[in-house]
């Protein structure tokens, strides 16, 4: 599961049309029978060209996902950011133990005394506390919980 962050990586060639598509599709995808045809019309492309570009961008991992983004809090589920202070000498063991929990959706190493930051995603709010307690029991380290108290409006604005 561990993959080191690629700082440069193998660059994927993106042309101006790719970039424009990525930027446009961070917004709303049409909720219609033939949505790619609508997107294509807006770009002056053929429908199959748009589909082929999307496939290429996904295959090359330029896009990590394409589809509906769900807010599981709205259906009874819960997310919680959590952090641990992991001794450097024990980091790999603890990372493996934490990552083995299916409830751990993302896990990042960060440069701070609290050096491991992960997101718990569970189907019920009670699952958060239960999972955090089990991680503490497994690793022998305290898990600091940082539940979201309020989310502020954020626009999608990373330009490709």
């Amino acid at each position: 599961m561990t993959d080191t962050m690629k700082r440069s990586g193998a660059p994927v060639e993106l042309d101006a049309t790719d970039r424009a598509l990525i930027n446009a599709l961070q917004g709303d995808f049409p909720l219609t029978r033939e949505p790619f045809a609508e997107v294509a019309a807006a770009f002056g492309l053929a429908e199959d060209q748009v589909i082929a570009r999307m496939r290429r961008l996904l295959d090359a991992r330029v896009l990590t996902r394409f589809g509906p983004m769900f807010q599981i809090e709205r259906i009874g589920g819960a997310f919680c950011l959590a952090a641990m202070r992991v001794p450097e000498t024990d980091f790999e063991r603890v990372a493996a133990a934490v990552n083995a929990f299916p409830e751990v959706a993302h896990n990042y190493r960060r440069e701070h005394a609290l050096n491991m930051w992960f997101v718990l995603a569970t189907e019920t709010p009670a699952g958060i506390e239960d999972t955090a307690a089990r991680i503490e029991a497994t690793t022998g380290l305290p898990v600091f919980r940082f539940p979201k108290e309020r989310e502020y409006f954020v626009e999608m604005k990373l330009e490709a």
């Binding site: 429908e47 589909i51 589809g67 769900f70 809090e73 709205r74 009874g76 189907e123 919980r145 604005k157």
Partner: protein
């Protein structure tokens, strides 16, 4: 945990989530394919998805770029200790600034952790992220004098895991 906002989904909506959580099919009529796998007509499917969007069960439908692949190789979690009376106003302000992709209020964990506002900042390199956070600090200082007591930034040095949520199929 303070993250639950109520609401519920029925079995059809749960099947829609399971059918699309890994992504939409890349075909001319993707919703027709989803409808077939969910076992409803496409008109009902479109109406259901529209309703899920309206209720916020679906936040949006679209593409998620890999930040690294589009050139944003540095990400810094900026964290701020903001006066509780002004933290919501500061949060709205910071969330609207360029380069900020997430902005949340979270509880402090004293004494280890004095910060109550988290803003993720993406940039093309670490210097750009640091510059951007410096600008955010300056703008908070102008707009909300004295509101920010302390700040820090945590850069990520490795992705240890990234899978996202996976709901099981309906039981």
């Amino acid at each position: 945990m303070g993250e639950r906002q109520g609401g519920t989904v029925d079995d059809v909506e749960r099947r829609i989530i399971v059918a699309t959580q890994a992504g939409l099919p890349l075909v001319a009529r993707p919703w027709d394919e989803v409808a077939a796998s969910v076992g409803v007509g496409v008109d009902e499917l479109l109406a259901r998805v529209r309703s899920m969007l309206d209720r916020g069960v679906i936040r949006r439908i679209g593409a998620v770029p890999n930040h690294y692949a589009i050139g944003y190789t540095a990400n810094g979690m900026s964290v701020w200790d903001i006066d509780d009376a002004r933290v919501d106003a500061v949060g709205e302000f910071v969330g609207a600034l360029e380069g900020v992709t997430h902005c949340y209020r979270r509880p402090r964990r004293l004494p280890e952790w004095p910060y109550n506002l988290f803003a993720m900042v993406h940039g093309r390199n670490r210097e750009a992220v640091e510059r951007q956070i410096g600008e955010i600090a300056a703008r908070i200082g102008e707009r909300f004098p004295g509101a920010c007591r302390e700040r820090d930034v945590l850069f990520s040095s490795a992705i240890l895991k990234k899978t996202g949520l996976r709901l099981g199929a309906p039981g």
